[in-house]
């Protein structure tokens, strides 16, 4: 048996004309005015350079390449405070897996600032509106809640957004609303599977490997399928949602609401 059976959607995904590279995506955008952190833009930008040179090789450009650590989201193995981070960076940790780095004081401050700023070196000129109005739009006119679940309420077929404000930048949220086709993460692309028993399953992937695929189907059931049992496996290059028809002011309000969703 050879893997990659009947996966007709695959070629289309690869043919997408526009590609993005995470490190550069925000470089041309302007500084964010809302400033909910204590670090200067200069420190964050300096930290961005230190991070790229010293840290990105292991931690990855998104900061999540080391098991159990997600720097952008502020998930660390042992550290809590900035001083903890300083200790881990300067002394190393995890039996040498995290080596000790000899950084100058300004470099150390910068890299912590960059981590605390959620890897957003320049910030972005995204308008952030009123969260209360945004919640009303999310649950009503915006039709977001028709598919998305928040804090235990709503359907599970689309990704749960309870912590979306902690894991996405304002620019990413805006792009998702205005141009979902370019913003949709590949793992969230809609899939359509047909089994040898002629059952059709529509849903969203949760995981995949060479021989199997795990999905949540339209009935909110967790399904694990062997690819050898499938006669059709399509991954759509079109997201299940259309660009929003909300006004720019309403979009700003929805983003404001989403940014309040920080998880438990």
């Amino acid at each position: 048996m050879k893997p990659f059976i009947a996966k007709s959607g695959r070629g289309k995904i690869l043919a997408l004309p526009i590609f993005f590279a995470a490190l550069f995506a925000s470089s041309q955008l302007l500084a964010q005015e809302t400033g909910d952190h204590q670090y200067t833009t200069e420190a964050i930008q300096a930290g961005s350079r230190v991070y790229t040179q010293q840290c990105a090789l292991c931690h990855g450009p998104q900061g999540a390449a080391v098991d159990g650590v997600d720097l952008r989201r502020g998930q660390f193995r042992t550290a809590t405070s900035d001083d903890d981070l300083r200790t881990v960076i300067s002394q190393g940790a995890a039996e040498g897996r995290m080596p000790a780095f000899n950084l100058a004081a300004t470099e150390m401050d910068g890299v912590i600032a960059y981590i605390r700023a959620g890897f957003d070196p320049d910030g972005v000129a995204v308008r952030i509106g009123d969260p209360a109005r945004g919640q009303t739009l999310f649950e009503g006119k915006g039709e977001c809640a028709d598919c998305h679940r928040v804090n235990g309420v709503g359907p599970r077929t689309a990704p749960d957004l309870s912590d979306i404000g902690a894991i996405r930048t304002p620019a990413s949220l805006q792009r998702n609303l205005l141009d979902p086709a370019t913003a949709l993460l590949p793992i969230n692309r809609p899939v359509r599977l047909v089994t040898r028993n002629e059952e059709t399953i529509v849903g969203r992937r949760l995981n995949e490997d060479t021989y199997t695929v795990q999905v949540i189907d339209s009935n909110e059931r967790l399904r694990s399928l062997r690819k050898s049992d499938l006669v059709t496996y399509e991954i759509s290059d079109a997201p299940s949602k259309q660009p929003t028809t909300l006004s720019s002011e309403e979009v700003a309000d929805v983003i404001g609401y989403l940014l309040t969703l920080r998880g438990l």
Binding site: M1, K2, P3, F4, R10, I13, L14, L16, F19, F20, A21, A22, L23, F24, A25, T52, Q53, Q54, A56, L57, C58, G60, P61, Q62, A64, A65, V66, D67, G68, Q91, G92, A94, E95, G96, R97, P99, A100, N102, R168, T169, S172, R175, T182, A183, L184, L185, P186, I187, R205, L206, N207, E208, D209, T210, Y211
Partner: protein
Amino acid sequence: MKSSLKASLISCCAIVSFAIAQVSIAQVPYERILNAADEPENWLTYNGGYSAQRHSSLDQINADNVNDLKLQWTLQNQVFGAWQSNPIIVDGIMYVTERPNSVMAVDAVTGRVFWKYRHTPAENALVCCGANNRGVAVLGDMVYMGTLDARLVALDRVNGQPLWDVEVGDVNLAYSVTMAPLAVKDKIIVGVGGGEFGIRGYVAAYDALTGEQAWKTYTIPGPGEPNHDSWEGDDWEHGGAPVWITGSFDPDLNLTYWGVGNPGPDWNAGQRPGDNLYSDSAIALDADTGELKWYFQFTPNDAYDYDSVQVPVLADMVWRGTPKKVMMWANRNGYFYVLDRVSGEFLEGKPYVTVNWSSGLDENGRPIPTPQPEGMPTYPGNQGGTNWYPPSYSPRTGLFYFSAWKDYATIYRAEESEYIPGRAFLGGGFSVLAPAPGAPTVGIGRTNPINNWTSEVGHASLKAMDPQTGEAVWSYDQFDVSDSGMLTTGSDLLFTGGREGYFHAIDAANGDLLWNVNLGGQIVMAPVTFMVDGVQYVSVISGHALSTFALPNQ
């Protein structure tokens, strides 16, 4: 300390007469490693034999019974992180290393541990990409390990006690040893890591009994040496060119072969004009003196971190009608090469994945550069079309097997870097090409059980290359990428894995999947096979567990 140890060893041997007798019946004399192919029940050196084919003539496990393979034992790692160690098996005892620098002697039949030695690296030891150790060498009655703080340690094979411990490189300048040493004749040979920290790389040989340095050959020629002019100014002093993967050896030519890593700073080639020899090269060094006999550079003035740290795989074959001593090499730069290992002459080179940093190779094998505009993707990406993962060559099928990364590209950004001793010296950065902004992409290792980066950003493609044509006879794709090495057997089985944690047995002739099992953790080293009391075993490390399989009722 070195000389006093040597003195005590000599006086010990002189006074106690049976100590001399013990030396004469040393368990693993050089001749055993030289003739390793004659005793496939053991796995005596990192790559299975000096020709580094990772091919065993054992054939008890075959296509008809591989489905009956049964787990015999599992050994759990006591530390976290990618476990890249290659076990050595000598007469029923397995020697395997564990992060950061421990060695265990394990009963190969039950998995029970006889002894464990732990070396604690100096606190300032610095490695770019994980505190790895890829295994030991054995020679005589000693077991040898390189360390993250750039030392070479010799242990008593029976009780694990250290016998000598010498400095290979300056830990303060970020030298390290992650490779398994290569034992040749009476010497233990290692190379140094540190290509991301502005080291000046070298290969060095040590007297196996005393640890005294026998020779040291820099991979960057100094003033007055040939090819020094492939560097400008003082760039050569911190130009990288590490050697962090075990080489191979041709006893007839008395040449050891090594793959040399990237020049530094990694991504700013403009900062170090010239070809930057012998970075990204294959080098042939005299086994007794370390003298450089020839070199072949795969990627001159590399801007993409295309380390040539692949294992030089040796074979004697009739190549396009002429008997040749060849070296086969699937390079990180995306090309598959066949070289004449007597002279270093380029015989063949073809891309095995998408390559756009170069439009092809000239008649001497030199790439024609086609650097991509700033912000545009370069194929293959930074981790390469392949990397250090050990390949296999089967003399039975005549095919060369290795893990390739397909559809994987990165966008590079070069910037000026100042060399500061002991600090990262990278010259910019890179990001992996992704189909949506912020989408997860492949990194250096697998970090969680969910594949949310999806195959769009690169995936594994096992290639079975015909060295006669430079073309793949067949490929076996996986959804995730793979850092797994290869093992082929006398029954034409190909054992390998990948980051998904599947351990596969594939038909080496045609690529058909014969058997697999989900071991649950990334497989980032090659499987090995051995035999004890008439039973063939195959061992593989997946995640934090070393698992050993055999057929029941043998």
